[in-house]
Amino acid sequence: MLNLPRWQTIVIIAITVLSGLFALPNLLPASVLNSLPQWYAQNRIGLGLDLRGGAHFLLEADLRSVLTERLTNLSDSVRAELRKQQVTYKDINVEPGRALIVTLRDEAQRAKAIEAIRTVDPSLAVSGSGDTIRLAYSDQELFRRKKEVIDQSIEILRRRVDETGTLEPTITRQGDERILLQVPGIKDTTDLKRKINQTAKLTFHLVNEDVAAAGANIPATLPPTTFLVPTREGMQELRRTNPKAWEDIQTANPRMSPEQICRRYQPQCLPVLKRVVVGGEDLDDSKATFDQQGNRPIISFTFNSAGGRAFCAATRANIGKRLAIQLDGEIISAPVVQGAICGGSGIITGTFTTQQTQEQALLLRSGALPATLTIIQESTVGADLGADAIRAGTVAALVGTALVAIVMFAAYGPVFGGFANLAMLVNLLMVFAGMSILGASLTLPGMAGLVLTVGMAVDSNVLIYERVREEKALGRSAFSSIATGYERAMSAIIDANLTTLIAAVLLFGFGSGPIRGFATTLSLGLLTSMFSSTIFTRMLLAVWVRWRRPTELVI
């Protein structure tokens, strides 16, 4: 038991040293960190909002209304299609958030009606009997749509909340219909709510082909009806080649107009007519799909009736010209008008990859939030409150660790107590290392978890040492007492740690926010203590026994 093969000793030391290396960036002062390579120094545990200060919102998307709205739009299309196919119906009703119910006049037309509806939207599940046809989204389709709404909302929130790219917000899905928005370091949430309420400005403009035909990227003079707008690719190119310029543009206050950006930094730009053909508020939907042959990725979009009429008139008069789609001062796309687009929906074709069409469709949708987002939970922590919490947590952790160390020293003497305390420190290093690797954040309850871990981690050593004492009392030799002590204590150690670990893991599954921090430090601490308190101390004792060859154990 105490004769460790050399390779085991090497592995144990390697794990300990690695943990130390991973934990180190968290313990060094900023001045030392700055002189270290960044890939290493940045490997630190983040602080939770309760320690760092900041705002935390849980937003709930009103998916029911979105679905009801989609179904209402669908009922218009179904109505038109049925009329076209000369199917007579009594009524078409929307069952809020769930389904569309068509009541036919003549049961005999059922098959014909279903066929007509299939052409409108093949993804609908058809049920019902006799003269009623119930059209509902399948569970799969419902799931896909919900996910789409949430993903889109997250994307829009990201754009709105972090216009300048300096706030580092964390925006994540929570379950089916919720979004968690965390913004560190801000205290005034009114401003944040104003930003959530903002709309990205999406507008369609005709390209001034006369100016564009002249060839130069940035013409010296422009007709008064025309202005320059940088393209999205142009801006991305600028960001790559001249990050300083890009940064200046983002932080400029007041914000620079698109034309100013074009003139000063000369990214790729397009001259477009100032008149807005259609605004983003009239765009109902856009999605990435494939053309009718089913192989070319395209983007399809749908306008509401007002937008559809305006778009129809503009495209009819400008076949062959380009229509620029401007989003927040950048042209995201400028497709050529192939023909009059009437009837409220159209497609954008080009040499796109599937990924590009998805991205473009998302950008087109990013004008308006698809669903109402209600704040159902909110917390803001001022920076000084966070600082107080850090101070209290740190003092408690230090005092707790010191007290436990004193008890262990007193109870088991300098050698055994010292080894247990060394193991406790290694355990703390491993928890820090584990959190760095997992990218977990430290919260105030997390600090409480650390303190608790310190108290519980020495438990394994207590179990072993008490057993060693018993074995010694039975008259075993020093070597044999230690070996048997470790062996016999093992099953109790595993049981004791696993039961607490069960509670910690379930708490992690159930909890959210700061509580997860507690569950994280506690479970990590319990897991790593099984290494530090048993395997690591056993190695220390093995080395010590071989070195000192004690005839009698002082324990």
Binding site: I196, T199, P370, A396, L403, M408, F416, G455, P514
Partner: protein, 391 residues
Amino acid sequence: MWKPIHLFAFKKKFDFLGKRKAALILSTAVNVVSILAVIFVGLNFGIDFKGGIALQVRAKQGVAQLDALRATVGGLGVGEVSLQEFGEASTVLIRIQRQEGSAQCVAGAQRVMQKRAGAGWQVKPGAAGTGDVEFTSPQALDGAGWRDAVSRVGLTVVERQLPRGTTATAKIDMSPEQRAEWCQQVAIKLVEDAIGTDYEIRGTESVGPKVGDELMTSGIWAVLATMAAIVVYVWFRYEWQFGVGALIAMLHDVISTLGIFVLLQLDFSLTALAAVLTIAGYSINDTVVIFDRVRENMRRYKKLGLIDLLNLSLNETLSRTLMTSGTVFVAVLALVLFGGPVLYSFSVGMLWGVIVGTYSSIWVACAGLVYLNLRPDQLRPADDEPAKAKA
């Protein structure tokens, strides 16, 4: 070099189980009282579970005037309000009940608008049965203006809810539930406006009605699931009597911890729930170590009577039991003393859990084995095998 102190090396062997009747009476009394307290007095639920608002405020100068604050905040029409000093004399935790989205809240929203956007503003509830709210502005506003205006009362809207063009009124459609959630925001703004000149708002927390209800349900499930999982584990590793004994000890610890929360009127928040779950896990920790020894001794001393055997095992593990409880106790004590007001109820709960967990391992779990009539011949043969292999 100093000699180790054998802190808990008792010469005398204790007859723990001789006191099992007294312990049974004591434990039953504590648990019955705890259950009655939870039912009739009730846990002092924090806003995590009840929904509501908590604001931590600090007087800009001197100490906080609790009575004046109570009168001011109580007069805002935001429902029940409770105040407590929080850590320091200058700092107060204001708790406000969860908001229901009543007409009173809409009137409050009007006061906030008038204070923050100008005297001409009006806010009225829409049609009965809906949660609609109608805003009237002193001058006509466009879309951007409306978006800006409604965010002053903490309202988040989508484009669809706003009027088209430039208008002087906007009817924001909401469901009654959405309005109730929004009223939480209104209440925070009302408090900010009322006390903002004398007090600095250090942090706010708002839990809407929906989240509160959900957390309550999932909290109960979390406790039940944890206890079930632990019992299944113990049952898997030991004979059923051990599993039942451990379960009773755990219930004893969890129930009496809830009792302490009622007795001291500690805030029962999510962190307190974390304490309860940890106690459930930790309660078993001691118990399992003793059980491990009981089983070992059952194999070794097949002839020994159960009570003597349990007493022997308890005495053998006593020093370990007290040592580990001791280390956790001092660590948690540091949390109670220095961990600050946010962790206070968690730490006090944990401290109690450590004490009661130690007691219950001895007098509940082991005494339970006596009442459950555990006998050596009931050991599963499988459990004997490792021992044989060793021998």
